[in-house]
Every structure is written in C-alpha cells, then in structure tokens.
C-alpha cells in the first residue's frame, strides 16, 4: 500500500528542513537534452532522489545519508561521499543538488545576488557563486501555494551553456518550520 507521509501546513517553505516534491526536470547541455519526472525526498542528512520516465520506469535513483551516497543507474550501483559529485561523475548531468534544494523553495541565502524581484517582492532572478567559483543563475518564472507555503512552480537555471528547467507539481512539508 502507498505509505503517505505526515504532511504539515506551513507559511514559509525556507524554514522547513524536511520536504518532498514531485515534478519534472530537464537538463540541456551543448551535446545533450535530458528530461525526466523528478521525485525528491529531502530530510537532511538523508535524501532520496528518483528520475523516472513517462511510463514510470526508473532512469536514476540516488539515496544519501550521513555516511555517503549510493546511485543506481542502468542496473549498476555507484558510491561516493558526496551525492552531487557522484551524480556528476556517473551521469555527466550537472545537477547542483545543494543549491537546487534551496531554489525549489525559492530560498535565497547570504551571498546570493537578487538581480530582480517581482511585483509581490518575490525573487525573480537570483545569482549565486558556488564554492568552485561557478556563477549560477536561477530565474523564478511562476509561483504557487502548496502545503500552505508560496513555492516556485517553474524555475529556469543557467550556468554558461548548461540550462536546467524544473517544474514543481507537488511540494509537501514533512516537518514543521524550524525557527
């Protein structure tokens, strides 16, 4: 039977550490176009991320906890300490997981450069320089209310010639906001 997680109504997604989302993700690189359905269960230090085809067949699944990350792709299993590095090594998909886990909530942090806000004072274009020096930009194209909180619906992310398109269809708060 499908186990339904306990869900909270919250007002500020940024303050919610544990959440789960369903959506669609596309990654455009100069040599490749990739898209899949995205399931992401994020309960630090644990996270589970699954990419599935339209028919529900698993393309990639990542499980991470405090000891490290395990990635299953094409029937093979890979391990590494850091989930983001593991995905990049194995799939060549430039998925900035830690930044993404904030962008999916429309969360800005110290050091982010907010280039534009929309008429409701929500961030529209935000730039962030990663520890590795790369400058990434997230553009929030639309918003929605899910689990009581205002969260993005469509986000376009860019770094040089890599573009990521992320649409959030469902966002569930799995813990109350931590203040």
């Amino acid at each position: 039977c499908a186990s339904a997680p306990k869900v909270y109504q919250v007002d500020d997604a940024a303050k919610v550490p544990d959440w789960q989302l369903n959506g669609r993700i596309a990654v455009f690189t100069p040599k490749d176009k990739f898209s899949a359905n995205l399931f992401w269960n994020h309960r630090p230090p644990n996270q589970q991320l699954k990419l599935t085809t339209a028919l529900g067949i698993t393309v990639m699944s990542l499980d991470a906890d405090k000891n490290g990350a395990r990635l299953k792709v094409d029937g093979k299993e890979y391990r590494d300490k850091d989930p983001q590095a593991l995905i990049a090594q194995v799939t060549q998909l430039p998925l900035p997981l830690s930044a993404l886990s904030q962008w999916v909530k429309g969360e800005t942090v110290d050091g982010d450069i907010v280039l534009a806000i929309d008429e409701q004072n929500r961030p529209k274009i935000v730039q962030r320089r990663f520890d590795n020096g790369q400058l990434w930009q997230a553009e929030y194209q639309s918003w929605q209310t899910l689990s009581g909180a205002t969260v993005p619906r469509m986000i376009r992310i860019q770094h040089k010639d890599v573009r990521i398109k992320l649409q959030i269809n469902q966002w569930l708060a799995l813990s109350p906001p931590s203040n």
Binding site: C1, A2, S3, A4, N22, R24, A26, F28, K33, F34, S35, N37, F39, N41, K50, T52, T53, A54, L55, G56, I57, T58, S61, K72, G75, K165, Q167, N169, Q170
Partner: protein
C-alpha cells in the same frame, strides 16, 4: 506459453478499436508515490495507439502503424523510432502487435482475466537490457481495464483505464510534427 499469448492477442482483437481515459500511479518498492497523472489512451489493432498524458503535464506517444512518435513538450522535442525498436521501451507497442513473431521475445501466462507478460532472459542482458521486468494486462469483459508495469528497480506503474468508447477518430493515429521542435530520429 503460446496458448496464453494467442488468448491475449484474441482478447485484444475482440476490442480492436477503442478510446479510454487513464489514471497513472507510480509507486516505488517501498510503496512511496513517485508520480501520478491522467490522460487518454486510444488503441487500434494492429500497430496503432495514441497515449496522451494531460496531467500534471502533457506528453504524447503516437504509434501510426509503422513508427512510434514521442512528443515531449517540456523539452520541445519529438523522438521517432520504428515500432519494433519501440517494443522494449513501450509495452503498449507490444500489446498492439497482431503478428505473433513480434511476441517471440516475451513469455505470456494467462491467469483468468489477467495476462503476465515477461521479457525472455535474453532481453534482460546485452547492450541495452529491457528495464521492464513484468507487464500485467487485465481485462473486464472485452475491455482492457489495467496495465501494470514492474521495472528493474521495483517501481510499479499502474494504468487504470475507464470510460471505454469504441468510436475512434483515425486522426488520433496520425502524428503531425509541432512547430519549432527538435526531431530526434532514431530510425535505422
């Protein structure tokens, strides 16, 4: 066995043309809901179907009798392959095949109103192994009522079909390339 395969083909032939609405639920091996959606499925035996997902977002697969077209509006791309190429990726492409040679790589077992369809071992190894482990097609009367897919990692996808109508617009099985999309032609 062959008798089950012939029975399944006869069952599909009994309702050779229909349109239906589908609900889709994808759950992982722990029962977590990964994905859900809705749309319409139209079939015309042999070798034609139209699978149009409308929620949460649109995607369209059309088998026009020879080729299979996959339109993914999210990345503005259409991929096309022959129906035989498509069979591994899309069990639907198998279900609409009427000549039994297409079925030789699959093992079929009938259990009452349901048919278990499993890729034979040689499909599960090699260059690109089938990621599908099992497909179960169940009927209510002559109507295909559900199609359940199990993948290599234990994901279960259940398509529940309803509102069957036997009048089918043949245009559903003709694919027109939308404006401004990339065409990824995988045909040999």
């Amino acid at each position: 066995d062959d008798a089950s395969r012939d029975a399944l083909q006869a069952q599909m032939q009994a309702n050779a043309e229909f349109t239906s609405t589908f609900e889709q639920k994808v759950t992982d091996v722990n029962g977590q809901l990964l994905q859900q959606g809705k749309g319409t499925l139209s079939i015309a035996i042999p070798n034609r179907f139209n699978w149009h997902a409308t929620e949460p977002d649109e995607s369209l697969i059309v088998a026009d009798g020879t080729d299979l077209w996959v339109y993914n509006p999210f990345i503005e791309q259409v991929s096309v392959m022959t129906l035989t190429q498509a069979m591994q990726a899309s069990p639907m492409a198998l279900l609409v095949q009427s000549d039994s040679s297409a079925w030789q790589d699959y093992q079929v077992e009938q259990q009452g109103q349901c048919y278990q369809i499993q890729p034979k071992p040689e499909l599960l190894s090699g260059a690109n192994p089938s990621l599908l482990r099992n497909a179960q097609a169940c009927f209510e009367g002559d109507n295909l009522a559900s199609l359940e897919l199990l993948d290599a990692q234990g994901n279960t996808t259940l398509f529940s079909l309803s509102a069957h109508q036997s009048t089918v617009d043949p245009q559903l099985f003709v694919f027109e390339l939308p404006e401004g999309v990339d065409l990824d032609d995988q045909r040999p």
